[in-house]
Symmetry: C2
C-alpha cells in the first residue's frame, strides 16, 4: 500500500470514528448552540464538538507530527507539511432538522494541495473517498468507482446550491442568477452531499460561496478523482478560496464560469 | 387486526412494491422526460411510471372496488368510497440528482378525509406510517412511535420549504416571507421528507404551495398521528387544498397562520 493509500484509509477511519460520536445524537433533538452573531443562525451541536475532539485525538495518536485545521477547535500547527482539514458535520442545519444531506469531511493537504478527501454520511452508511486521481463510493461492504458525467451542457443541467442566502453581496447573487438563467432549473439544499453526487455522475453543477477551507478541501480529491472540475469562481484553485464551482466536465465548467463572469 | 390496520399494512406493501421498481433506477442517471410546458422543468422518469403501474396492479388485484388517483396515470373511479391517492416518487427532482429527500407517498381517503398515510424512502429503508391517530417510523425491523415537538414557538424554529420558486404569485411569496421574517431561519429542499420529520419531532414547520392531492393526502395521517397540525394556508382541511402549513403543535401552527395572514 502506498503512503497516500495508507493516509486515505486512515482518513476513512477518522470519519468512522466521527460517526460513532455523531449518530447517537442524530434525531434526538440535539441542544443547539447558535455560534453566529445577532440575527444570524449558525448552529453547532455536541455532536460537532465531540466528533472533532475524537478525530483530533486519533490524528495526535497516529500522526503527531501532522497539523490539524478544524471547524470547531481551530488550527494546531504540525512539524510536517501535512495538515488535516476537517469538518465533523458539514450541513449542521440539515443535521439538526433530521434531514440527510450532511456528512463528515476529512481532507488532507500536503502543503501544496488537498491530496486525500473523504465524505461520510453515517446514517446512510455511505463513504465517498478520493485520492491519487481516483474516487469511489463505499457502502455495505461494496466499493463503486465514481465517474462524473462526461457530456452535459449548461442549458440541460440543474444548478445546485445549499441556500439562496449564501451569496452575501448582491454582486454574487447576480452572478449566481446569471448561471441559473442559463441552466434548466435550480435546486437548493445540498451541503457537502451534492458535490459528491457530481463525482457519482448524478448531479452536474454546484456553485457555492461564503465557504471555509474545511467546507472545500476534502471535496477536491473526490471531485477531481471522478474526472470532475472544481475551482473557485474565477477559475483558480478552490482550496485557497472561499467559494467554488464544481462541474461534471471541463466544457460545462467553462460554460458556468463564462456565465458567472466573476472578475 | 382492524380493517383500518389491514388497509395500513396494505399501504406499506404498496410502497414496498413501488420500491422494487424505483431502486434499480436510482443513481443510474435515468432518462428524464420533461412533462412541463416550455420554460418549466417537471421531470418524470421510468421509475415514476413503472412504480405507479405496479401499485395500481396490486390495488386492482386486492381491492378492485377502490378508486385510484395517481400523479402519473390519473383518476380511476371505484365503486367504494375508498380512493387510493398515490405519488410514486414525490421529489422527482431530488431523485434525478441522486439526493435523498424523496419518497413514495400512499394515501387512502375514505370519501371524507385521508385515513391512512405512508411515506417510504427505499434507499434509506425508512417507512413512515400513520393511521388511527398514531404514527410510527419503521426501519431495519424496528418501529418507533412518532411524536411531534410539543413546545416550540415561531421565533425559535427553522421554516422549511421545498423551493423558493414554488409560491407562484407575489402575494404568496410575500406571505411566505412574513413567516420567514418571524422564524429563526429558512431551509429549502425537503419535498415529502421534511413533513415526516415534523412527525418525528425533529423539524417543526413546513409551508408549501402549488401542490396536488397526491402531494398532500398521505402526509395528513402521518402528521396528525404524531400530534402535529396540518391545514391549508387559511386553516381549512389540507386534503382539499393545493397548499399546506404543517406545524409541530397547535400554538406554533396558530403563530404561523397569523404571520401568513392568508385571506
Amino acid at each position: 500500500m502506498s503512503e497516500l493509500h495508507e493516509l486515505a484509509e486512515f482518513a476513512v477511519r477518522l470519519a468512522e470514528i466521527a460517526s460513532q460520536e455523531i449518530l447517537p445524537h442524530f434525531r434526538t433533538r440535539p441542544g443547539v448552540h447558535n455560534k453566529a452573531a445577532q440575527g444570524h443562525y449558525d448552529p453547532v451541536t455536541a455532536a460537532d464538538r465531540d466528533a472533532e475532539t475524537a478525530i483530533r485525538r486519533e490524528i495526535r495518536r497516529v500522526y503527531p507530527q501532522h497539523g490539524i485545521l478544524g471547524e470547531e477547535h481551530g488550527f494546531e500547527p504540525g512539524e510536517s507539511a501535512y495538515t488535516w482539514v476537517i469538518d465533523p458535520i458539514d450541513g449542521t442545519r440539515s443535521f439538526v432538522l433530521g434531514q440527510l444531506h450532511w456528512g463528515t469531511l476529512i481532507g488532507l493537504n500536503d502543503g501544496a494541495k488537498p491530496v486525500v478527501g473523504v465524505m461520510r454520511q453515517p446514517y446512510t452508511g455511505e463513504t465517498f473517498v478520493g485520492f491519487g486521481g481516483s474516487a469511489e463510493l463505499r457502502r455495505a461492504g461494496m466499493a463503486v468507482k465514481l465517474a462524473a458525467h462526461r457530456t452535459c451542457t449548461l442549458d440541460e443541467v440543474v444548478l445546485c446550491a445549499t441556500a439562496p442566502d449564501m451569496f452575501g453581496t448582491s454582486q454574487r447573487q447576480e452572478a449566481f442568477a446569471r448561471v441559473a438563467a442559463r441552466s434548466r432549473a435550480v435546486r437548493y439544499g445540498g451541503d457537502c452531499y451534492t458535490p459528491c453526487l457530481v463525482a457519482a455522475g448524478c448531479a452536474d453543477l454546484v456553485i457555492e460561496a461564503s465557504l471555509k477551507p474545511w467546507d472545500i478541501q476534502a471535496l477536491v480529491p473526490i471531485v477531481e478523482g471522478a474526472g470532475g472540475v472544481i475551482t473557485d469562481w474565477s477559475g483558480g484553485a478552490a482550496d485557497r478560496a472561499d467559494d467554488f464551482v464544481i462541474a461534471a466536465n471541463p466544457e460545462l465548467h467553462r460554460q458556468a464560469l463564462d456565465a458567472l463572469a466573476w472578475r
